[in-house]
Chain length 201, copies 2
Amino acid sequence: MQISPLLESLISALRCLPGVGPKSAQRMAYHLLQRNRQAGLHLAHELNEAMNNIGHCKACRTFTEQEICTICANVRRQSSDQLCVVESPADIFAIEQTGQYSGRYFVLLGHLSPLDGIGPSDIGLDLLKSRLASESIHEVILATNPTVEGDATANYIAQMCNEFNIVATRIAHGVPVGGELEMVDGTTLSHSFVGRQKIDF
Amino acid sequence: MQISPLLESLISALRCLPGVGPKSAQRMAYHLLQRNRQAGLHLAHELNEAMNNIGHCKACRTFTEQEICTICANVRRQSSDQLCVVESPADIFAIEQTGQYSGRYFVLLGHLSPLDGIGPSDIGLDLLKSRLASESIHEVILATNPTVEGDATANYIAQMCNEFNIVATRIAHGVPVGGELEMVDGTTLSHSFVGRQKIDF
């Protein structure tokens, strides 16, 4: 196989993107070279800017190029007494798109995982503790992933909240909206029974 | 929605890649920031290098950063009397991977399409003509796509070859290997009947 070395290294570099295998990478490289070199250069510039300048918010640990992210800097959000704890910055994006929540966030950037050597300080729980102690927070909403590690992390943080007499809540687990009962797995279904709510008239 | 402006522009820049929608672009951006900033910077560098330095081979018009691509510069290939005409550089990649062909190539970078105003000179047929006139070529293999435009382009080039008394051949159309007859469309099946070959013992 004899192709241009530069093209070959572009194709292999594109494979760092998640979900991009050799065929997609090849298609992307040829597409950019043949149809849209300007967009390729623009992408290179944006990648450089983002990788070099985006750091973590000092208050909530999400991605931002400033000291404090736009959500933490928002005055209306600062006056909220709710704090939502999530595992990754992408979760904030998903929650914000629902328009359901208007409080502050805290990003763990991971979850507790003793087997991998990830303890409380690795997921910023010391910072969270100091925020719980110093800020006026009434409720901590634990929106970690519904996995064993996510649940364990949520429990750990709930205990921490208890020390400061702060209410800790966990997001509901149950049947996804629009799904069919017979297609839902047993664990989810049993969660939806345990978490059943009274219908008020 | 309040996310970092730099992150937002990275996500929108990633959408220039073929097959990448808003969700994939978001996943890619978060993945690079969270797990692999080095790979992101490397990708930016490779994109810049490739977009700025890759041009077209003077002989066959494929992508290369040199004057003449590695295939055209190969002495063994130069002594071959076959020339394969393809629509895009990616086609060369596909043909090379079969290991079936060891001649030279010519890349049209498109196909004849009078409705879109794409005539013979736009797909480099003047350069091809001068190569047919000056080089010792015995056979031109027309490997354009099996579409209406690809077929029309192949016919046009076949007529050109005829002027120079060069044999023009078209790659076989037929049932794909490993496919099932009942799943093959009618046009392909009729092509496979027209192009049937005698079995020699």
